[in-house]
Symmetry: C2
């Protein structure tokens, strides 16, 4: 059988007008702001009118620790959504928007794959509805206002050496990581060291994704700490009177985007915060809107369950009052083999022992998910080379953990290939455990929260942090930030902070290098290891191969 | 009589669905890509199908040298468009998109004013349909590819000291004018001096506005000179294989935007190149599309006629094969008084003598316009304080020049206030002079072209340029760029290069400070005086007052 490529499948899609997609959820044409014929924003006015509606059931798709073999989390999110639609459930999916920058570095889209895709795929990987550009503008307006304030007399007494707000660009551009700005003389301000991050790393992105409405957005933007005085008193965006103009720049971006899967399941694609220095989930406003319109909402979180699901539960669900009904942990035979110690170039051969060994990673994620009081099911995202024996090994392992592993073929077959998973998810969700609780209470100390995550999720023995870091955490507690949740930034490749330690390591410790206060987003970022906030381009960027073909179609982007 | 503010009038607008606006020009709903309910892009496919249609008549609105008193060029463009619609002509207007950056510095929109506005005004002054963001992305992708190429071995031998391509941002941010990038060690590349311009100053913006279609766009992008080798050989975007990906980023932006005036005249709002280092007109593709759909197309060009009309004729019309049928020169009584030597705070009192003196400026613009073989009419954009005697003085002066000055009240009365102007424009256009010709032939030498503009338009005695500049021009001629037109960058406030020399100066000379080759846009920029390509914010930026009111409406932007 000759498989079509993702882009060939996407181009052949029989898209419905976006008004028909909205109608499946009861959204009228007047409540949609169309962007072309296949994309729309759902108006803030319509969303405000939904506040009293009951919410449907929320299903999180997460995964084992990622490997270069790929897991297919978005693909499974889409497949499960279509599977739920097929078995008669009114379903919506909620995923993140793609960052433009990486598209020109390494190939790879963010709209699923095979027959489990969201369309229009090309536009989702380019400008889409402009949300990230709006975030870039709002972020950089604040940056310009900071330097402008200093230039015109610095009435707030901002210490130029302690400006904490960098600039952003939705581009992979290593040359902008570290710069000196304001050179060239008096008219250009005071020279200082600074730099650019990629837009998805902006605190404005995290804020947009956690805000409940425009006034909450404006309040959070005002809370952003842009730097400190010589006396180390924080200076906020509100002190610069920046939050109103930033809100104006973001008013359209806050409205969630509606598109569709290949099988016409409504898909909200909105927001895309980094999964390391931010929480890595689509927007709260998209998720809560979907929950008020659909019986089932399938969403995903970034990286593996140790990072993505943990933050989804402890940050997003806690703050938005969400209660997930079931969790799907995605695994592939190849990724389990890699977690079992097989090298990437040896994944082709059957190796049941390696699969079994790699299942330790899967097992720990299942256990962790259950510790939040939410039932878990494993989705084996099927690849052509998987053998019966390997699949049987995973099924047996999951059963031994009091869970279940279900083989899914949505990549090749669309929603039909995820019907069994959909049935199982419905059974779990309708059992209605009502057991969800975050891992730690708001009132726990900040350092104790870090320890709780490290010990209960990562299974580390200890958290290592020097006095300066502990003092900083105490100072934030004294300043009233002690009730914030923790946003861990560590490698996604391991439960530990060592990316090469696959499987289910124990006996390790978690060294904290740095802590940052994201007062607008409302979390404390805890950095354990090297975190890249501005990627670079590779030796041969995919940009070189990207272009329009003679039909005006985009080539080389995927 | 209490006048409503611009924003009050705009909010009270009775907008028609954009499909109805398109239908007035015969554009079907399927040929429009809607952005909300009141904005749309006209599809490239529809435009391609218009190639064989006859073109309507093109009317340029230009002005006397601008003063702080304001002239109302866009307001008159809109008023004339509505006036032509009222007298039964199938009309479209073509204006530029607004830059986001300045909105947060000084108040002021770019959608006309009073009862002669284009709507939705707020969105036009914010993100609109995202064109400028797309240009920013395409520009900065090229910048990232340059530094990435150098980082990975610099096979093309780009001299890091001779990188000519800066980065851009649609923001007023003086701190980015001069920077050192790539600091921080080996992983971040080779440190070098560079900086940011505002997006409207990007050569990509000029290219988008001059391209006839996607393949012409791609060719022009490839022609961009990004820098030079140590041997001073040019390195182009094509050498970096950048033009394909840049074209992909710009494919939607190249499709013109359709909106409407308060009186529902279709308005194409597309592109917005700087009027100093670029040519300052809306896109060729919007103008030619409008001409194939309407009997009359009213457009404008940046700054006064010495800069705007000259470039419109010698760059845009020459390159796009356009032939303007009539030119409207906008003047106000106050601006004429300022050109006649009155200070800004003394403009309130009647001063017929000053008006008469200032008319010398108007007269020279009329003469210049006629020298292109196009008939000219003067529009007096009426302000409440203008006296009968002052208006009579302008009318008498214009008559003495073999032209006519018509009092227009579109600001207060909409299209009805510009009907007399519309009738006169139709009479001039239908007389069909067929006399249009650019000022100089393609094959004239580059320096001779500069002299021709300086002597015939600015009425200077001489052009001053040192040997280095003349040698550079000769080198470009030898390299095959000799047939390009000239894009003058000088002060807009005077015919001369001294901004304080109002009226109609003679005996001055034009010193050329620098010349730049915009090989993609297809012109040679000649810089005479200080040219700001990245504005700063004022002491109290308007951003501080911008915000959403309780109704969710934007306040403080205008």
């Amino acid at each position: 059988m000759v498989h079509k490529t993702d882009i060939e499948i996407a181009r052949a899609a029989d898209k419905k007008p976006i008004q028909e997609v909205g109608a499946r959820l009861g959204i009228g044409a007047d409540d949609l702001l169309p962007y072309g014929h296949d994309k729309a924003k759902v108006t803030a006015g319509f969303i405000a009118g939904l506040a009293d509606r009951p919410q449907g059931k929320l299903v999180l798709v997460t995964a084992i620790n990622p490997t270069p073999a790929g897991e297919g989390k978005t693909t499974t999110t889409v497949g499960l959504g279509d599977g739920l639609s097929r078995i008669g459930k009114k379903t919506a999916i909620c995923i993140r928007e793609a960052s433009l920058g990486p598209c020109f570095g390494m190939k790879g889209g963010a709209a699923g794959g095979g027959h489990a895709q969201v369309v229009p795929m090309e536009e989702m990987n380019l400008h889409f509805t402009g949300d990230f550009h709006a975030i870039t503008s709002a972020h950089n307006l604040l940056a310009a206002l900071i330097d402008n304030h200093i230039h015109w007399g610095n009435a707030l007494g901002i210490d130029q050496r302690r400006v904490a707000w960098r600039r952003v660009m939705d581009m992979n551009d290593r040359a902008l990581r570290d710069i000196v700005c304001s050179l060239g003389g008096v008219a250009n301000g005071f020279p200082r060291e600074t730099g650019f991050d990629i837009t998805v790393a902006s605190e404005v992105m995290a804020i947009l994704c956690l805000a409940s409405d425009l006034s909450d957005l404006e309040r959070r933007l005002g809370d952003i700490i842009v730097g400190y005085t010589r006396e180390r008193a924080p200076v906020t965006a509100r002190d610069l009177k920046a939050e109103g103009a930033m809100t104006v720049l973001l008013k359209d971006a806050l409205q969630p985007n509606l598109v569709q899967t290949l099988e016409h399941t409504p898909a909200f694609v909105h927001g895309g915060p980094f999964a390391n220095i931010a929480h890595g989930c689509n927007s709260v406003i998209a998720t809560t809107t979907a929950l008020r319109l659909a019986d089932y909402v399938v969403t995903e979180a970034g990286f593996g369950a140790d990072l993505g699901a943990e933050k989804f539960m402890n940050i997003k669900c806690r703050k938005a009052g969400l209660s997930p009904a079931a969790v799907v942990v995605v695994a592939t035979i190849k990724a389990l083999k890699m977690n079992g110690g097989v090298a990437k170039d040896a994944l082709g051969a059957e190796d049941v022992a390696a699969v079994e060994k790699g299942c330790a990673n899967l097992g720990r994620h299942i256990e962790n998910v259950k510790s939040f009081g939410v039932p878990a099911v494993v989705a084996i995202n099927h690849f052509a080379g998987d053998t019966e024996a390997e699949i049987a090994a995973v099924k047996a392992y999951a059963a031994g953990q009091g869970s279940e592993a279900i083989l899914c073929t949505h990549w090749a077959e669309g929603g039909a290939g995820a019907e069994a998973l959909a049935e199982r998810v419905v059974a779990l969700a309708e059992a209605d455990h009502h057991g969800f609780a975050p891992l730690y209470p708001d009132e726990m100390g900040l350092f104790q929260k870090i320890e709780t995550i490290a010990k209960r999720i990562y299974r580390a023995d200890a958290v290592l942090a020097d006095k300066k870091i502990r003092d900083q955490l105490h100072a934030w507690e004294d300043a009233g930030y002690g009730d914030l949740p923790i946003c861990m930034a560590k490698t996604q490749y391991s439960f530990s902070t060592d990316p090469n330690l696959r499987g289910a390591p124990t006996g390790h410790s978690v060294p904290v290098r740095e802590v940052r206060l994201a007062a607008g987003a409302g979390f404390v970022v805890v950095i354990c290891g090297e975190i890249m906030t501005m990627p670079g381009l590779p030796r041969v960027p995919s940009a070189e191969a990207i272009g329009l073909n003679d039909l005006g179609q985009v080539e080389g982007l995927f």
